[in-house]
Amino acid sequence: MHKFMLLITTVLEKILMLTMAAIVITVTWQVFSRFIIQSPSSFTEELARFLLIWIGILGAAYAYKTKAHLGLDLFVSSLAPVRKKKALILIEFLVMIFAGGVMVYGGTLLVAMNVELKQTSAALGLNMGLIYSAIPLSGTLIVLFCLDNITQLLKSTTELENTVEGES
């Protein structure tokens, strides 16, 4: 499972880098087309917005993996190792409720509704379900990262003690 998640992370990294490059190129093209060739591009604004949704939502899964999300680490880090481990597992479960309940379940229904109603975007004519599919995809990844974190936490207490020492 852990190796599989590392592979997924690598793929996710590549996708995010390319999306970022694409977003820079898209808006640059918008400026260029307006000032240099005097024919404002009609699709760039919408495309850039959709790419931002993908960076924001899919990147959230990556930031969860790298533990980069902001939190308030006042009490948990000062707990004794065994309690800390329990608290960390509890956090993973709470995150899974959100990622599973809202992002996967609610997100999938949202995608399905948009596909069914054939909601398309104004300039590009893309189905909005396609754009929103970032939500269930990212939710699934976050749930997988949580499960991976939990198994890693359960597997070794020594590792945990090491990190406690490292932080203090």
Binding site: V27, A68, H69, L72, V102
Partner: protein
């Protein structure tokens, strides 16, 4: 209805103190409150929809661009040139190195939008330099952290973009230009403290550079500072939007660092792109979740309830505005700036407007207020980065921070009670009638 507010508040703080990521705290608390009003299925769908909808904005696109350009400038030798320029200008005054630190942070803030980027870029060079000349590492770290927050007000500023969206459409250009005077005022106030501190501790004064060398240093920083005119000039002149300016800033920073200064190789770019994605995603998830929360807030009329509560407390604007500031200072000590602006703007802006404050002035006030939180324990992110850069600890840095907190608070009070500080420049440029 009050019951929803209580559930929202209690669940949010319980989750927050459990160290659940703040975006998830907001999302889960919203979910919990929403299932009091409707079934789980429409509740989860609504939140998912609001998350995507909240991010779906062309104005927000400026944020990844300014994050990326900040990362590039932090590594690309631009910070170094800004420091040398500040050194040539004010290095020989009393407390010169501390003043150079403040000015470099302000200059860095003027070309990028991130206080954390400024802290690591400027602090990692200036703190060792200050230590070498007899300053304590703690003082160096304190000055860097406080000075880096001026970048929140001095445009381009990501947080002012976020405020523009949270406030429901204040012009980004107006906010950007409104940030200059308060930002520079904070910088000058910090410089004053630094000079007095240096005179009191009899720190050595650096010799003045020969005029020719000084001129060369200033000229060397010129290409970096030119970015200010392109980006801010472009936005204020209405030539392009903040988002387009952001893209231009990325290209310009790339051209300088990769092409001219040659301090970043093309091979390093993917890592910088990924880092920018990560930071962007953190902000975007908070924005998405907050957008669901503010939908819930307006659905349950919580802002009106709070507004009415404030109006029953006092009808004296001086008292109410002071109260709002004190609440925000406490909030800022625990919650990072982005979620704090997103959560509290819809709640407090209507109250402030009742007392005749303009949305522009309120925006500057809330950002300056929460800047104090960025450099306060227990969570101040800038303070932590600064301590890490200076290799010192949080409890040692508090003592030298105290005079800096005091002057920041004084400027906050000036900004709160003197509208002209925030509004004179936007008025001059025709953003306010």
């Amino acid at each position: 209805m009050d019951f929803t507010a209580i559930i929202l508040l209690v669940s949010f703080f319980v989750l927050l103190f459990l160290n659940v990521p703040i975006s998830i705290c907001i999302g889960l608390a919203t979910l919990l409150s929403l299932v009091m009003h409707m079934d789980f299925t429409p509740a989860s769908m609504t939140i998912a929809q609001q998350m995507a909808g909240g991010i779906d904005s062309f104005a927000l696109l400026a944020i990844p661009f300014f994050i990326l350009s900040g990362l590039i400038m932090g590594q690309g030798g631009i910070a170094k040139r800004l420091i040398e320029c500040a050194m040539a200008l004010i290095g020989s005054l009393p407390g010169g190195l501390a003043l150079v630190n403040v000015m470099s942070c302000m200059l860095f803030g003027a070309i990028s939008g991130s206080a954390v980027a400024a802290t690591s870029a400027i602090g990692s060079f200036m703190v060792p330099e200050m230590k070498k000349h007899g300053y304590s590492a703690e003082f160096g770290a304190a000055v860097t952290a406080a000075a880096a927050t001026t970048g929140m007000l001095i445009p381009p500023s990501n947080i002012l973009i976020i405020y523009a969206i949270a406030s429901g459409g204040v012009s980004i250009a107006a906010l950007f230009i409104a940030g200059y005077v308060p930002g520079i005022l904070v910088g000058l106030a910090l410089m004053m403290v630094c000079s007095l501190y240096a005179i009191h501790h009899k720190y050595p004064v650096t010799a003045r550079l020969p005029i020719k060398v000084a001129l060369e240093k200033v000229l060397a920083a010129f290409p970096s500072l030119l970015l200010v005119f392109i980006v801010i000039g472009g936005i204020i002149g209405g030539i392009f939007t903040a988002t387009e300016a952001g893209a231009v800033a990325v290209l310009y920073a790339l051209a300088l660092s990769v092409g001219i200064y040659k301090e970043i190789s093309v091979k390093e770019l993917p890592t910088l792109f990924l880092k920018a994605c990560e930071t962007t995603a953190i902000v975007m998830l908070i924005i998405g979740a907050s957008s669901a929360m503010s939908w819930l807030l307006s659905y349950t009329h919580i802002p009106q309830i709070i507004s009415e509560f404030f109006l029953t407390l006092s009808d004296n604007p001086l008292v109410v505005l002071l109260l709002i500031n004190l609440i925000l200072i406490v909030v800022g000590a625990f919650i990072d700036m982005t979620p704090a602006v997103l959560i509290f703007t819809p709640i407090f802006l209507p109250v402030a407007e009742q007392f005749g404050m303009s949305p522009i002035q309120f925006g500057i006030m809330i950002v300056l207020n929460l800047s104090i939180g960025l450099v306060s324990p227990p969570v101040g992110s800038v303070l932590f980065v600064s301590c890490a850069v200076a290799k010192t600890s949080i409890h040692k840095i508090i003592k030298p921070m105290i005079p800096l907190y005091i002057v920041m608070f004084i400027v906050l009070m000036l900004v709160t009670y003197v509208p002209a500080i925030s509004e004179a420049l936007p008025r001059l440029f025709g953003f306010i009638e």
